[in-house]
């Protein structure tokens, strides 16, 4: 694949950005029962009855954010999402994502119900012209590569270019090296991921949708950061996404799979 390189100067200003005001794409606070359904704000209706709720609408929550999963085709975006949403990994039962889809999950973050609306996208390059229209509404992006696929790692820079072009400036961004359960097939070293993340100032974790390693943590960290940005009182200590990820994240070395 031929893609242009990312100018490094614009790399990452993201993680320590919790003091930034919630800009144009700021969090949409949804006040139960009083919120008016605006174009982007999912209102807080009573739980729907009867029909299976595919999008998981109807959950109660205090604040809602949009998170997008991006990265090359086959890196495990849908698996990561399903692991987080349902705690399941059913090997070999996933079909490739065509277009764009989303699922909701409500998390309890320090006593507050935070709803993540998680957008799953097709990874193939040509679908980007279809999906990048959604970047601008995203509050956070999880950028994935597959540690058993060098190309998916090499393409991270191109993804960052894409993100810079289409996402909001203050979008929360995190780099994830997925599939760490496949130790035999690993071709991207953990240090390489760390180095790249450092270069762009991004928080970084290795994850496994199969074992569940760091999956909840990645989403929780995002939720904490977003919640903090939207509700932080000036006196409150700042939430540090970087430190949190470093402290809580488990490497494969300490966790045999």
């Amino acid at each position: 694949m031929s893609r242009k390189k990312t100018p490094k100067s614009k790399g990452g200003s993201v993680p320590a950005a919790s003091t930034l005001p919630a800009a144009a794409n700021g969090p949409r606070l949804a006040h139960p029962r009083t919120a008016r359904p605006g174009p982007e704000a999912p209102p807080n209706g009573p739980p729907q009855s009867g029909r299976p709720s595919l999008g998981g609408t109807g959950d109660f929550y205090d604040v809602a954010f949009k998170v997008m999963l991006v990265g090359d085709s086959g890196v495990g975006k849908t698996c990561l999402l399903v692991r987080f949403k349902d705690g399941a990994f059913l090997a070999g039962t996933f079909i490739s994502t065509v277009g764009i889809d989303f699922r909701n999950k409500v998390l309890d973050v320090d006593g507050m119900k935070v709803k993540l609306q998680i957008w799953d996208t097709a990874g193939q390059e040509r679908f980007r012209s279809v999906t990048h229209a959604y970047y601008r509404d995203a509050h956070a992006l999880l950028l994935l590569y597959d540690i058993t696929n060098k190309d998916s790692f090499d393409n991270i820079q191109a993804w960052l270019t894409e993100i810079q072009e289409y996402a909001q400036q203050d979008v929360v961004l995190m780099l994830l090296g997925n599939k760490v359960d496949s130790t035999q097939e690993r071709v991207v070293k953990r240090e390489d991921g760390e180095k790249l993340a450092k270069e762009y100032g991004l928080p970084f974790m290795e994850t496994s949708a199969k074992s569940g390693l760091n999956v909840d943590l990645a989403f929780t960290a995002i939720a904490k950061e977003l919640k903090q940005r939207s509700t932080k009182a000036p006196s409150e200590p700042r939430f540090r996404l970087h430190d949190y990820v470093k402290r809580e994240g488990r490497g494969v070395s300490c966790c045999r799979l």
């Binding site: 174009p39 029909r51 039962t93 079909i95 490739s96 277009g99 390059e125 679908f127 279809v130």
Partner: protein, 289 residues
């Protein structure tokens, strides 16, 4: 050779019993039949040669197709353990198609379409040519890198909804929903994995026969039938959710009545209208980019 000799020679070459088991009548015109068949044989032979060349050519290109084991993992014939495993067949068809139509190459979604063709024909080469008919002729540029035909048709559907179901169009506009979010899979996968298999196959019969207009008929019918339900939506996720639900249930399972509905419910849908809308939507999209 005079006509009598020609007839005699043809009689010697053409079997007395046809491929369907019928004995040929006494007055069967062997010469005319042979002439007809030899023309058709040329086409079949050309196709077979082209196909075998593509397969051989693909030997050098070991391209990883990440979607092989992500195509119908819930189908026993596509499992790695199946014998024969249709993943290999799928690989051949997709790889050959990528070589054959290099402007398109491989686009996600084609795996599902080729997968269905393989399940139905049980034949690699036939699946390939049917895929070519769809991608290369029937569908207007859905899968090429710019996906302009796809984007155009999504806009065309939006316009048709505006004309025929204005309340739904108003709901979309009010929430700023992009149609691509709701219907891109309908167009790209031609309803595979969206509607029940039998219904999809009935739709495809019409698609091969009547062309891509059928996709609009199906989409409009689904939306019109569930208009009231869709209008209950009060948020973007709600709308998405409803659009997923309208592709399930009795209405789409009853494929016979469904097929009748797609020709009655949306009302008149002339090719002239579609062509005109496609032109204007494409122009608008090109002006945007």
């Amino acid at each position: 050779m005079d006509p009598a000799e020609r007839a005699q020679a043809a009689r010697a070459r053409v079997p007395r019993i046809d491929p369907y088991g019928f004995e040929r009548p006494e007055d069967f015109d062997y010469a005319a039949y042979e002439e007809f068949f030899s023309t058709y044989l040329v086409i079949l032979t050309k196709r077979a040669i082209k196909w075998s060349k593509l397969l051989k050519g693909s030997g050098g290109v070991r391209k990883s197709v990440t979607d092989l084991n992500r195509t119908f993992p819930d189908n026993v014939m596509f499992r790695k353990t199946a014998d024969p495993c249709l993943q290999k067949t799928l690989y051949n068809v997709l790889l050959a198609y990528g070589l054959h139509n290099q402007d398109v190459g491989y686009c996600q979604g084609m795996n599902f379409i080729a997968g269905y063709l393989i399940l139905i024909t049980k034949n690699e080469e036939e699946s390939f040519w049917l895929l070519d008919a769809l991608v290369g002729r029937i569908l207007p540029d859905y899968y090429s890198p710019a996906m302009l035909g796809l984007k155009t048709d999504q806009e065309v559907l939006a316009e048709l909804v505006r004309m025929k179901l204005p309340a739904v169009a108003a709901l979309m506009d009010g929430h700023g929903v992009l149609w691509t979010l709701l219907v891109s899979r309908w167009f790209i996968c031609l309803f595979v994995d969206i509607l029940p298999v039998e219904t999809v196959l009935r739709i495809w019969d019409c698609l091969f026969n009547e062309g891509s207009k059928i996709i609009f008929r199906v989409a409009l019918t689904l939306i019109k039938q569930h208009q009231e339900f869709i209008l209950e939506a009060s948020s973007v996720p709600d709308i998405c959710d409803k659009f997923k639900q309208i592709t399930k249930g009795d209405f789409v399972t009853e494929c016979h009545t469904f097929m009748q509905k797609i020709f009655s419910e949306p009302g008149s849908l002339s090719m002239a209208t579609i062509t005109r809308l496609r032109e204007s939507c494409r122009a608008a999209l090109q002006a945007q980019s």
